[in-house]
Symmetry: C2
DNA sequence: CCAGTTCTCTGACTAAAGTCAGAGATCATG
DNA sequence: CATGATCTCTGACTTTAGTCAGAGAACTGG
């Protein structure tokens, strides 16, 4: 890759890290550990389930629990049991907590304002345009792929989105009960895997692969959210799934698909899949594809 | 300020912070505390004085000392006394340290490459253009002003730059021994102040003000580095100096200047200074200005 | 209804990061 | 050449951040 381009990106990283540093200091500067501020912020005005907090902040369960106790002692937060599931607890801000959060909010505003303040109107407009370009073009590099349990809430959500889209796009609709079933065990290691693509922590796509021993790997239910298309997520998701299949020793991967899914078919062809005769009786399928998995 | 603009900048901050976070993790992931990595990095291939490290990293003297001991134990760093001043110590990388630093370097490169990698050539070009716009337009907000001792190395450097520029621009050159002298005490609180403007830690301008009790404040030796002009540094430096003078109770501020310094004169006029009769015998001056300091 | 899972919490740790108060060597200056 | 300032270092701390194991309550699916 072009070394000058890399240097420029590195300079940008450094510059922005410096700016962000002052943001962090700012956020901090409330006589409260940064961790607690983050939790306070993340709870939001509507409250949040504790498991959600843990997840979004990527923190240990015991650690979050302790921070919540501390915030409770400061009368900023109230924790109560979840109405529907009494194992789960929900954190909510007290009136005082809400005020504290508003202070953090206005500090973020103040920092942003400090960036804009010394600029002329014209410069401001250029900055906003450039900033939105950078954000858009940074997105592809911020997509993360990870194997997840197919029973997780997000994986289930992806599958629902996927089914809804098939139902909309197939000429005669789609009913998951009619299609060949996918057993949870078949897409959980070592039987296979389900990979979720995320942007800023939110799922934007998923795909799964079954890896039966001594048989071709079998790609299932690949989906990319509409708003995330054009970022190359599909291509990379496919590569991740193939990589997993390859790691289990699979020599070939195959899949079936419906003729309505034109972009998917184009992606498969571009990725080296070739059409083969039907290898199963999936009622919704019109095309069957196969690709050899060369060991890297 | 436009709330939408502020929200956009905040979103940008958040997005980039997420990216920077992965950078930090990357940097870290060497079985070594982040602090030590930073020190290792900052020493650089040419070595660095310890006081310089402390300064650039903003760390406690004891803390840095301990980290250096640890890096010495790991045979990455060698500390020896400074040739010219035996109080000062200089840290240098060993061959092993240099190799370690090269690893950090290549990790930074890899991160930058990961940002560029999923983009098409056209997108890459747009990103680089946008990134350079953002950097340029972020600069004004990253300038920091601070009162410093006029005896500090950076303050002295600024004065030398200033004198050199005057010598170049005045029709008959400039000799600091001929001009009215500035005593160190007169521009050190409480007698006055010297303010240094910095960008990324490097000095890019300075200015000073004498604040004799019961007399007008007196602005001296204001200078902005050529490469930092057009960022509004002069205007802000002037405002900082006036602010200091105001804080000491001064009711008026005055200054003299040479006709060759056209931008400076324009700045003074734009900032509310009006020309007055000569109030001293500065041999290099052609204009004398004065401005009332209204209490904010 | 029971076995396994999920969720939160507590106790007992560790490591990293940073602060503070001197001590001792060295230098600059009147 | 005494005085004060500068620089680095050590010892003695504290706080923050985070990990790990396991207990107990609540839920879920067969």
């Amino acid at each position: 890759m072009d070394p000058a381009a890399i240097q420029q990106i590195r300079r940008f990283n450094r510059t922005v890290a410096e700016g962000i540093g002052t943001f962090t200091d700012h956020f901090l500067g409330r006589g409260r550990p940064y961790g607690e501020s983050r939790v306070l912020w993340e709870i939001g005005t509507d409250g949040a389930d504790i498991r959600e907090l843990r997840d979004r902040l990527g923190l240990d369960s015991g650690y979050v629990s302790r921070m919540l106790r501390s915030l409770e002692r400061q009368k900023l937060v109230r924790v109560r049991v979840h109405a529907a599931d009494r194992r789960v607890r929900r954190a909510e801000l007290t009136a005082l907590g809400r005020r504290e959060r508003a202070v953090l909010d206005s500090r973020s505003d103040a920092l942003a304002a400090r960036i804009l303040e010394p600029l002329t109107d014209k410069q401001r407009a250029s900055l906003l345009a450039a900033v939105s370009d950078v954000e858009r073009l940074l997105q592809p590099s911020m997509v993360r792929f990870a194997i997840e349990r197919p029973t997780s809430a997000d994986a289930q959500w992806c599958w629902r989105q996927y089914f809804a889209e098939l139902d909309e796009r197939f000429e005669n609709g789609f009913d998951a009960d009619v299609a060949l079933p996918v057993d949870v065990r078949e897409v959980t290691p070592p039987g296979g895997a389900l990979i979720v693509a995320r942007l800023h922590g939110r799922p934007i796509g998923c795909g799964s692969v079954k890896t039966p021993r001594g048989a071709p790997a079998y790609l299932k239910r690949m989906w990319v959210a509409r708003e995330a298309r054009g970022l190359g997520v599909g291509r990379r998701l496919l590569a991740e799934l193939e990589g997993y299949a390859r790691s289990t020793g699979a020599k070939t991967i195959h899949l079936e698909t419906n003729r309505a899914l034109r972009e998917a078919i184009a992606l498969y062809r571009a990725s080296g899949y070739v059409e083969v005769p039907a290898f199963n009786a999936e009622p919704y399928a019109h095309h069957w594809f196969e690709k050899p998995l060369t060991q890297a």
